[in-house]
């Protein structure tokens, strides 16, 4: 089945079409009866506000490797790293150790703080007497099932 050719639309110059302004703007100077839905307009769920508390100090990283799968971080996952958080035991950290960038869990092992992985092949790395530098704290991990 074939469609008839659509009636030719009048050729409008580009500038006649409305510019994509966000819905918050563009109401200035609007007078008359206000829309009853106005109060609810901007309330839509924004994943940014949920996952990113400090945009200035937030960076995105990609995970590489399989040894954090036990804590839900898979190869290729997107990490949301907040550099303004003070690390506490139990946090998952990004740290710089011997010229490498690592993701590890900050936890106690035999009573002293270690960087732990979730894989038996990789023993906990003691933090004492190393030049390990904190880079940031992982606030969230995004695992995309469909890519």
């Amino acid at each position: 089945m074939s469609f008839p050719p659509s009636p030719v639309a009048p050729a409008l110059p580009l500038t006649f079409q409305p510019l994509p302004y966000s819905s918050l703007q563009g109401r200035a100077g609007f007078s008359g009866f206000p829309s009853p839905a106005q109060d609810y307009e901007p309330r839509t769920l924004d994943l940014n506000t949920r996952l990113i508390k400090n945009p200035t100090q937030t960076f995105y990283l990609t995970a590489a490797g399989d040894s954090m799968e036990g804590w839900g971080i898979f190869d290729g996952d997107l990490l949301i790293v907040d550099r303004s958080i003070k690390p506490r035991l139990g946090h998952i950290l990004v740290a710089m150790l011997e010229e490498e960038v690592l993701i590890k869990r900050y936890a106690l092992y035999r009573g002293t703080p270690h960087l732990c992985s979730a894989h038996p092949h990789y023993p906990p790395l003691p933090l004492k007497n190393t030049d390990c530098q904190l880079w940031g704290v992982v606030r969230a991990v995004i695992h995309e099932y469909l890519r």
Binding site: L19, T56, Q57, A63, D66, S67, L102
Partner: protein, 437 residues
Amino acid sequence: MIGLVDANNFYVSCERVFDPFLEGKPVGVMSNNDGCIIARSAEMKAMGIPMGIPSFKLESLRKRGEIYLKSSNYELYGDMSARLCQLLRDACPAVSPYSIDEMFIYLEEFSDKQCLTLGEWLRRRIRRHLGLPVCVGLAPTHTLAKLANHLAKTSPHYQGVCLLQAQSATTMALLKQTPVGSVWGIGRRLAERLAVNKIYTAWDLHEADLKQLRKRFSVVLARTALELRGTPCLHMNDLGQPRHRIMTSRSFGQPTGAKEEVHDALRRHAQRSAEKLRQQRSLTRAVMIFLNTNRHRRDQPQYYPHAMIPLPAPSDDTRTILEAVRQGLEQVYRPGYRFMKAGVMLLDLVDAEQHQLSLLSPPPRNRHPHLMATLDDINQRMGQGTISFGMTNADAAWQLRCAHRSKRYTTRWDELMQAGTHPGAIRECALRKQPLT
């Protein structure tokens, strides 16, 4: 009090935030096109490698792994600069960025002690949250804050934060040591003229008679002298006034003699310049283009033409400027030369709002401010050059050479920094993803 927050070796520091391997090593960042060195780490400075040295002279050092060179990654530096500025805005009553790596903060009604405490806190915070080392200079005026920052950087005693009070003994000693040419806003030429009048140091300027300065030199110099005494009289408006000319120029990745390629490059520069022009709300009265051959190749014929095309009426329309560029190229282009560099300069700018139509000038071309605004908006959001006039050939020789650019970690989804889940994980993954050969 006014504070100047200035990042140390900003470009190198940005590279190091995302590449721990570079920490503690001599690192240099090269200019557009990998031409020369524009930023050096402290280690590289200590090796005696000067600023601005052509990159090819360092090639053997780089190959031996004694130094590390990076192409400039302006997307990354721009993003880190915006973060730095935002971090200051979160903490200070007023901030105004002065350059990509220098920001002024305004701390009225803060005591000296509070200023110092805030300075130290900011320095620690920027280091931890962004990974950038900065120094803070605090003083009652912009000019003194700049000197205080220099002292904070060069003298380890201050540990990165230095406060200068007006007319204090420290300030006096510092001014006596500082050559007048190092004072903010005093260039080499002016310093030479000042030397004739027996003004050699910042202290001499501080002591000079204001009336004489105003009469023999300029009002601005008299203000600078006042600033050195601790009276604030330069404002950000004086510093950030719209520029009186706009220039965009680049070296070609490879020298070229083809008219089409040269025209392409000029077109791209013209469009960029026009965008800058509209951003600062000015109109241009004249367009200048210039071409350079490689002056170091004595064996090749040399030609440095330029052409100036006055516009019939001041304009900010890309199409008018492009037409002027085309005319200019027609005037000066000669076959048989290999050009190294091309540039477009917009001169004699006027304020768009203040400009009045003269009775004698021809009626303005049917201007399309909306078209231009839409163009700028799209290019700003989607990346430079998304929409342009005429076709520019992406593979042309004049495209930037940036063989050693690091990834654009903060602005591109496919160039994020990688973090390994165990030592060696990044390398293993890279090997696994390589196609079998």
